[in-house]
């Protein structure tokens, strides 16, 4: 199968949003997608982008049954480790089901790794769900270590009303 991996432009936001939603459905969390294509454009293609994105395109004659030629994406951003400095965090990597098994996922991951290398990043981090064996196997095959298993790291979050409460809390001693 022919395909190209390229940097996303703001014109890709509708396609990126479509695939974000498809990935959320796969992760059984479709109701949690709150952003719009316009949010993506403002956040990723403005003056201080919060993320970078790669998209995968296939030729017109190989387009999906619904007529899409953008069939995969990888969304990532830079983070900072106080141990090693700048890192890349791969937030989303997705290929439409019909186009899997053709090396597209591998190519996307490789391209993100090239970018990490260019920026002299010490590591690439990502999160995957416990039950998502196909993804976990894919990353393990590429050398990923499961830090939750080996070092016991847990992800925590404050959001919505817990974040608001914290912001309004009267701190003792201040």
């Amino acid at each position: 199968m022919d395909f190209t991996v390229r940097a996303a432009t703001k014109e890709d936001c509708k396609d990126i949003w479509r695939m974000i939603t498809e990935l959320a459905v796969y992760e059984k969390m479709a109701d949690q997608v709150k952003i719009s294509p316009e949010d993506l454009e403002r956040d990723g293609f403005g003056q201080n982008p919060l993320f970078e994105c790669l998209v995968v395109e296939v030729p017109e004659e190989q387009k999906s049954t619904d007529g899409f030629i953008v069939v995969g994406y990888a969304l990532y951003f830079y983070t900072y480790s106080t141990w090693t400095g700048v890192c890349v965090h791969l937030e989303d990597l997705y290929v439409m089901p019909h186009f899997r098994g053709n090396g597209i996922g591998k190519s996307l991951l490789s391209k993100v790794a090239q970018i990490a290398k260019q920026k002299q990043c010490a590591r690439l981090q990502l999160c995957a769900l416990e039950w998502n064996t196909p993804s976990r196997d894919f990353y393990a095959y590429k050398g990923a270590q499961d830090l939750t298993a080996t070092e016991g790291w847990h992800m925590l979050r404050f959001d919505g009303h817990t974040l608001d409460s914290l912001a309004q809390e009267d701190a003792k001693g201040s």
Partner: protein, 169 residues
């Protein structure tokens, strides 16, 4: 009641920040993993394109026993969740042992959450080692959700040698 101030870190603070990073890493039993230098911190935090933001907690000179007045810090940056948008990610958060229990940590967390709300972040995320029960309790008391336990999220890392291998494939 301790008197302290919380302020934005300045370039002159990098040596204190590195000292506190190493103290936190020692507490996490990972001291040898800190390879960052003061020069890295200076370039990465105070250059044209900062990769992180930092708050430092300072006590008056008459309250510090070991030379420096900087006794705590929090390092954060902005990340992105494709479902909800901009997030504040708390990378490191540490108060020196002898200054704990005085409300400094609580105040740092409050200022961070105010920052998150003011800068249009939907959420504040961070990771904690599961054996660090004191920290987990501190966060849970304030409403934090443990996404690893509740939703099954696991943290993965691909290190440099495997990145190099992949990037040349």
């Amino acid at each position: 009641m301790a008197r302290f101030i919380l302020r934005k870190a300045e370039p002159k603070d990098v040596s204190d920040i590195l000292r506190l990073i190493k103290e936190l890493a020692k507490f996490e039993e990972m001291e040898e993993k800190v390879i960052l230098t003061e020069k890295d911190l200076l370039e990465d935090g105070f250059g044209d394109h900062p990769f992180y933001h930092c708050l430092v907690a300072e006590v008056p000179e008459d309250q510090c026993s070991e030379g420096s007045t900087v006794i705590g810090f929090a390092m954060y940056y902005f990340t992105y969740d494709p479902w909800i948008g901009k997030l504040l990610y708390l990378e490191d958060f540490f108060v020196m042992h002898q200054y704990r229990g005085l409300g400094i940590g609580s105040h740092i967390l409050k200022v961070l959450s105010e920052t998150a709300v003011k800068t249009r972040c939907s959420s504040m995320h961070f990771i904690v080692a599961e054996n660090n029960s004191k920290s987990i309790e501190f966060y849970k008391r304030r409403g934090a959700a443990d996404l690893s336990s509740e939703e099954g999220w696991r943290l993965f890392e691909i290190d440099k040698k495997d990145l190099l291998k992949m990037s040349s494939q």
